[in-house]
């Protein structure tokens, strides 16, 4: 029995919110390090959501609406700082990276734009302007793309650091940016490989990467087939040259957002 099969029943109970106490804590510990089980839990929860629809009945009485809106009017809003505090979910800790990643994506698009302009003598001035803007964007994005940049991830005080990855994918352009942190060191002669999991067909290689000494890594615009639809992204450990097909087990995985 694999480790994941061992947790299959527990995940079902977890999704139904009937797993309690120590059993729940044990599964929480496993979920903190297992992307595929987190994905399965999210899918099971999605399954239970549709089951809720079989409930039918009268609409709530009008007084319930008044009661709620009166309570809302009485409730002071949370201070801004609390609203922007990091989520406790496993996916939230990389939220800060999203805006910076968009800058990186913008920089990549500007680069493409600049390259096109350079082929047109009549557009030299625009290319120069694009170049200046690209340089400005590079400076802004430097904290996430420069190897010497200091990276800090803030999580709940008692949470041990967990490997995390975030993929930003623009399907119609085939552009992909992947950022990861807290990645465990690799064995000698091994590399991580990112995979685009399409809705149908085999996983598509989406770049190999090795984390730096701090566990940080990134993949920017790997070669991808045009228009490939991504159902999920996954990471495996492969031999140093990479592989054309993933070698089990999947060490991290996330579904499309």
């Amino acid at each position: 029995m694999s480790e994941h099969e061992q947790y299959a029943d527990d995940l079902l109970l977890y999704a139904l919110d009937t797993l309690r106490g120590e059993e729940r804590s044990r599964v929480d510990e496993h979920l903190a390090t297992c992307a595929s089980c987190r994905l399965e839990l999210e899918q099971l929860r999605g399954d239970t959501a549709v089951l809720a629809l079989t409930a039918t009945g009268p609409r709530p009485p009008q007084r319930a609406r008044q009661r709620l809106l009166q309570a809302v009017a009485r409730e002071p809003r949370l201070p801004k700082i609390a609203e922007t505090s990091p989520r406790r979910s496993w996916w939230g800790a990389l939220g800060w990276a999203a805006s910076l990643a968009i800058l990186v994506l913008a920089a990549a698009l500007w680069k493409e734009n600049a390259a096109l302009h350079e082929t047109l003598a009549s557009a030299r001035s625009q290319a120069a302007e694009s170049g200046r803007e690209l340089e400005a964007l590079r400076k802004i994005a430097a904290p996430i793309i420069e190897p010497e940049a200091q990276r800090v991830t803030l999580v709940a005080a008692k949470a041990p650091p967990q490997p995390q990855g975030k993929a930003f994918y623009l399907r119609n352009r085939g552009s992909l940016i992947f950022l990861a942190n807290n990645m465990p060191p690799l064995p000698p002669n091994k590399t991580y490989e990112l995979w685009l999991i399409p809705a149908n067909g085999a996983p598509v290689p989406a770049g190999i990467f090795k984390p730096d000494v701090h566990g940080n890594a990134s993949v920017v615009n790997p070669l991808l087939p045009a228009g490939a639809e991504a159902k999920a992204f996954a990471i495996t450990v492969e031999n140093e040259a990479g592989s054309a097909a993933p070698t089990m087990p999947i060490v991290m995985m996330g579904s499309g957002e």
Binding site: A8, D9, L12, L13, L16, D17, T18, R20, R24, L39, E42, Q43, L44, R45, G46, D47, T48, A49, V50, L51, A52, L53, T54, A55, T56, G57, P58, R59, P60, P61, A64, R65, R67, L68, L69, A71, V72, A73, E75, R77, L78, E83, T84, R87, R88, S89, W91, S255, G256, E257
Partner: protein
């Protein structure tokens, strides 16, 4: 031109954004969209209108207090509210303290439940799938879902082996998943 489904999701996102800035009108509109769903789920679990109203109030107040708990990237608001409501109602039924924070309830993308027409269509499909299950399997799934019974409680009640209970409930949920993936 956006499809009605996309328009519903887009309107939900705008309303949740409104909640983040303290817009009480956005709260009223979200209530009008989803109170029938939330109340129906709570009433189905609790069978008592007063207790169902309390859960309805609690669910919407939590959304008001912590609108950032809903992650729009990972599921529709209707599905998320349905899951939270069912869990809170079961907690109330079984007189236990909630153990799951609403911001930890993350679900994979599921059918959009923004409009009553979409909900009715999805509900019909769910009932169709439930109708194809053996009565014993359907009963077990309903005991687990609507009564919050554990696997062993269901095994005791039905006299079926624990392994059979687990297998049937899991298979029931997987059948639902396949119906919406296909």
């Amino acid at each position: 031109m956006l499809s009605p489904q996309a328009q519903g999701i887009s309107a939900d996102l705008a309303l949740v954004t409104g909640l983040k800035s303290g817009d009480q009108g956005a709260m009223a509109e979200l209530y009008d969209r989803y109170s029938a769903l939330v109340y129906a789920v709570a009433l189905r679990v609790l069978g008592d209108t007063g207790a169902a109203e309390d859960v309805l109030q609690e669910v919407f107040l939590q959304l008001w207090r912590k609108p950032t708990a809903f992650d729009a990237a990972r599921g529709s608001l209707g599905s998320w509210l349905a899951v939270i409501t069912r869990n809170r109602a079961i907690d109330s039924l079984r007189k236990r303290r909630p153990e799951t924070d609403i911001e930890d309830v993350i679900l994979s993308v599921s059918p959009d439940l923004a409009g009553s027409a979409e909900r009715a269509k999805t509900a019909e499909k769910v009932r169709g799938v439930m109708g194809t299950m053996l009565p014993a399997q359907r009963a077990m799934l309903e005991m687990a879902y609507w009564e919050g019974m554990s696997h062993s409680e269901i095994a005791d009640k039905t006299g079926e082996p624990l392994g059979t209970v687990k297998t049937r409930i899991r298979a029931g949920l997987i059948a639902l998943r396949k119906a919406f993936q296909g």
